[in-house]
């Protein structure tokens, strides 16, 4: 394969700058020593990071987002494992329709889902509750969990299970000692991808979160709607830092390309 020319590399540099500019700006402004939005020029300050401590609604929203993401991703993985085994190993009536249904939260605009959840939860008495948030988040992260569990279930060599059975292992032992350990990397990555998506979700959640059950992105969004000040940039910088750490870890563990495209090109 031929190399990129100078022109291509210039273009690539500009493109990368475009992609990174807004993210870097947020991180820079977060270190401003001033009381207004500005770039730190001569000195850097952590005052706006300390200031987060004085806003308990951001802190509690952060813990709520963390718990919500962890819980809904865990349930999503737990129910997508048997579904993935069913889809990967069986040919049954309604298999295609079922897969489409499980993947549908990716196609349905989140604003429509938010409205539907708001209407439904209000009717059944779950409006503005944490239980409602968890149910809604399980639904929207399930496609991500299912995609990765499905990938590892499809890639599973059945002969290994058959070998274990012919050596006298029971169904349960095979599942516990052979099948689950083999699909475990897929489960962990599926959980992580689901977690990131839950942690970042704002469009759907803004409809169903009430004061007291607001997640961090919702809190940030509502704050920005009122006014933009250095405080929200330092909160955003923390969120970006956490996501980047998770991303790098995920890239090391599973390969970002495999995660997003579905297979690796570098053989990772």
């Amino acid at each position: 394969m031929r190399r990129n020319g100078t022109l291509a590399l210039c273009y690539h540099t500009l493109f990368t700058a475009f992609m990174l500019a807004p993210i870097l700006v947020v991180c820079f402004v977060a270190f401003t020593p001033e009381g207004y939005l500005s770039f730190p020029t001569d000195r850097w300050s952590l005052r706006w990071f300390y200031a987060i401590g004085r806003y308990p609604e951001f802190i509690s929203a952060f813990w709520r987002s963390l718990l919500l993401g962890a819980l809904s991703s865990a349930v999503a993985v737990a129910i997508s494992v048997p579904a993935a085994l069913a889809i990967a190993r069986h040919r049954f009536r309604g298999r295609e329709a079922m897969t489409t249904l499980f993947m549908s939260p990716l196609m349905i605009p989140h604003v429509v889902l938010g409205i539907a959840f708001l209407r439904f939860f209000t009717e059944v008495g779950l409006g503005g509750t944490f239980v409602g948030l968890v149910l809604a988040h399980i639904v929207i992260v399930l496609p991500f969990a299912l995609r990765l569990t499905l990938a590892s279930a499809v890639g599973l060599d059945r002969a290994i299970e058959h070998a274990a059975m012919s050596l006298g292992a029971s169904e349960w032992t095979v599942l516990k000692r052979v099948t689950l350990p083999l699909v475990l990397p897929g489960l962990v990555s599926g959980w992580a991808l689901a977690f990131i998506n839950s942690f970042d979700e704002v469009t759907m959640t803004v409809f169903i979160a009430a004061p007291g059950t607001e997640t961090l992105p919702v809190r940030m969004f509502l704050y920005i709607q009122d006014n933009i000040d250095p405080l929200v940039t330092s909160v955003s910088a923390c969120v970006i830092a956490v996501t980047v750490l998770a991303l790098v870890a995920l890239d090391r563990a599973y390969g970002l390309e495999r995660l997003l495209v579905g297979r690796g090109a570098d053989g990772r």
Partner: protein
């Protein structure tokens, strides 16, 4: 446990030991039951309720009245305010789609030609923002645009591209730029996936046969990655037309798109039936556009990749 009872199912494939987790009959339904139940109750029922809601009546003092009328639909489909809003939504989505295709496709091609480890690093840099909070990314654009003294305007003026600062905040231009940034990774990803299926030997063959750089790009590469660009375009268009956080932050309270208008109807005006009509119309329009476009792409390229 009926799953375990399947163990000695004689209908298993010959020569293999039938396993409970791979048998026939009810097993797949039982395995998918938890997810199926959840989706039936928490997805299908709420969506049905929303469609019904769009036919209900609403009044300032009487609230939602469960009757079956076409008032909301007539309003959404004929009132010039809603027509203009939908037109704006789809116009923005179209511009965003064209921008991402125009700039994302060449970048995917350049990325694909990079060598390890740069390729992996820049793939992470360019696709990574996909997983970073959309609120944080849009906040970045709000800071960059920031009125007349914003960085973008300073840069454009100093490069001599513009003489007076352009308004980005609270304008469609600003929305298009920010949304193009937010959705760019999807386009790069789609084209990248198409490029992985491309055989580099074909390019080499074209060069060996005397084709110039530009001819190779136009006659060899572009036709082969076109399905990737088009499928990326469908995703970007659908996401841009239903985007919420970015238009809400950049567009402010006055410049409404479908998603932000529905939000207003639900959480400020409290006219839920009208908001439901806007949301259902958006969903239907997007499904029609996405399915129609996919059909066209499949038919157009069925011969090439059949």
């Amino acid at each position: 446990m009926s799953i375990i009872a399947q163990r000695h199912d004689p209908s298993g494939p010959p020569g293999h030991l039938p396993t409970a987790w791979g048998g026939k009959g009810l097993a797949p339904y039982l395995l998918s039951l938890p997810a199926l139940l959840l989706f039936a109750v928490v997805v299908i029922v709420p969506l049905g309720m929303t469609v019904l809601l769009s036919f209900h009546d609403w009044g300032q003092y009487k609230g939602i009245e469960p009757v079956f009328i076409l008032k909301n639909w007539r309003e959404v489909l004929t009132d010039s305010y809603y027509l203009e809003m939908f037109w704006r939504t789809f116009r923005i989505a179209l511009f965003v789609t064209v921008l991402t295709a125009l700039f994302g496709a060449p970048e995917a091609y350049i990325l694909n030609r990079m060598k390890s480890p740069w390729r992996g690093i820049f793939l992470l840099v360019i696709l990574g923002p996909l997983l970073i909070s959309v609120v944080a990314r849009t906040l970045g654009w709000a800071l960059l645009f920031g009125g007349n003294s914003g960085l973008v305007n300073k840069a454009l003026t100093s490069m001599g591209l513009i003489s007076a600062p352009l308004p980005f905040m609270f304008t469609e231009t600003g929305m298009v730029v920010a949304l193009a940034h937010v959705l760019m990774p999807y386009m790069v990803l789609a084209v990248w996936a198409a490029l992985q299926r491309l055989d580099p030997q074909i390019e080499n063959a074209a060069v060996a046969l005397g084709a110039g750089q530009f001819t190779v790009l136009r006659r060899i590469v572009l036709p082969q990655v076109m399905p990737g660009i088009l499928s990326g375009a469908i995703i970007v268009f659908a996401l841009a037309a239903s985007a919420f956080a970015t238009p809400a932050i950049i567009g402010g309270r006055r410049l409404k798109v479908a998603a932000t208008l529905a939000y207003d109807e639900f959480l400020n005006t409290l006219n839920w039936p009208l908001g439901a009509a806007v949301a259902v119309l958006l969903l239907v329009a997007l499904v029609v556009i996405a399915v129609g476009a996919s059909r066209l792409v499949e038919r157009r390229y069925a011969q090439v990749f059949g």
